[in-house]
């Protein structure tokens, strides 16, 4: 019998819609989100090791369960960053440069032991650096959603 040296591609699929993830963390986070309406930042502290989680988390790596709500400040420090969207980086003209990129920063708010992310505004990209101090930029209308803490500016 003659074998043809030829392969055939067969279409297949992976139906993602069949998963129903469970997250009790959302119930906790919703309490923090509610507090945002009053410009309050609520983190959850672990009784075992003292770490403060913002946003709150239902378990700690030390195997204790964080249970103490603590207020954290709306100022913090940048630990990492990136830019999204092409622009003239280090003076090199990039294809499709649009001007000002979106600046995404990892921040640790004062009083929290965790890093969260948001966008940084009111600053030129070249001036952004790790270690910079920032302050959250509260929106006009506080909706009690993650959007409320999605922006910051240099402090």
């Amino acid at each position: 019998m003659e074998y043809k040296n030829e392969t055939v591609s067969i279409d297949g699929g992976w139906p993602l819609s069949t998963w129903q993830w469970k997250m009790e963390s959302i119930a906790l986070i919703q309490k923090s989100l509610e507090a945002l309406k009053k410009k309050k930042l609520l983190g959850l502290k672990c009784p075992g090791c003292g770490l403060v989680y913002f946003l709150p988390k239902p378990y700690c790596r030390c195997l204790s369960i964080p249970d103490e709500w603590v207020e954290i400040k709306d100022t913090g420090t940048i630990t990492t960053f990136t830019f999204s969207g092409a622009w003239a980086y280090e003076g090199i003209e990039e294809e499709g440069a649009t001007g000002t990129p979106l600046i995404i920063v990892g921040i640790v708010l004062d009083g929290s032991d965790t890093m969260t992310v948001c966008t940084l505004e009111d600053v030129e990209p070249e001036k952004v650096s790790v270690g910079m101090r920032i302050k959250l930029k509260w929106p006009e209308e506080l909706l009690g959603r993650l959007d409320d803490i999605a922006h910051c500016v240099p402090a």
Partner: protein, 409 residues
Amino acid sequence: MAKKEVAVVGVGLSKHVSKRRDVNIAEMVWEAVSACYEDAGLKPKDTDAFITGNMPAFEGVNLPEEWGAGHWGAYAKPLLRITTGGTTGGSVAHGGYYAVASGLYDIVMCIAFEKQSDGNSTMGLNTVALADAAAQFQLGVDPGFMAAFGGGAVGVAVYQASSYMKSSGCTTQHLDKVAALCRNNAALNPYSHLKQPGLTPEEVAKTTLLQYPIRFGHVCPATDGACAMLFTTGEKARKMMDKPAYVLSVSSCSDEAAMVGIAGSGTTNTDPCVQEGCKIAAARAYELAGIKEPRREIDLAEPYAPFAHQMLMFYERLLLCDEGDAPSILDSGSMGLDGELPVCPSGGVISTNAIGASAMERVAEAAMQIMGKCGERQVKKEVRKAVAHGWGGAVNFNVVAVLSDTPRR
């Protein structure tokens, strides 16, 4: 039962290219497995156990060895599946080490592979955080921000690069140099994917900026490929060959808190370039291996670096120099094939990335360099001790293996 010495007696690699449309998974893996048996002078019937792994999301197949392993000689043999994401290959190699060291299984075939072209890599990778992303959308995150946060084509490694460059003084020119060094090495490696002989840092610098600070030239390819290694006891290895490579120790460290935690709860790893886990794993691996001064005793390093900055960052986290010194060590030429401590002579993950296999291929290269089997890319100095590393998980899982030309005792 006495602890046994562990040695590598065979290595096999398949072709590594971007799309293998001429073979299915079982056939592609058999290329590596048969090459490994041939290299060792052994047959499937000699094998006491099989350990296999790949990243399940990429091919869209759950437990591919169920229909594939018969093709690799695993019928009626003990078979174990180990998967830990991007570090799978390293974790499989560690599994092989423990299987032999335990004294229960003398000849162990370790298999790691990825056939990304069979599936949808973006979708596969996204499932890392799909649940958390879905949760965050419910809580009011702007999808546009989420997409931008994700690091575009590069992924969350951009944050690691950004932070590392600040703390070490590494510049984009260093990233360009790393890429050029690795792709030139890869050109001498018959099993690598992206071979770019004569590539210069200046040429790398001209590639498109994907997402600050990473350019297209600083990033690994998506590869289809497989790696197989045969581990056995030191005693058996010495009967089979003059110069086996010994695995002195393995260690791993899970420092997982991802990038934004569950449903956006934040991560306690506040600075992505710290990679404490790598330092912990390396320290433990050196301790078990009886190495007191790694920077003096290690002759060669294969850190896992799909992104250019990681070759330098992990060189430091593998305790081979002071933090912040890797860029200047690169500048000195010491990391080259003829240098004092060659790094990624294989070309590294930045040149070849069949994800599930990549962390094993670091161990394979370390072993082959010790055994003197690397042909054109064999490093100039004698390799007595080498360190191989894997990184992955979400962002904070590190696996380390220390290999040598002499056993632990």
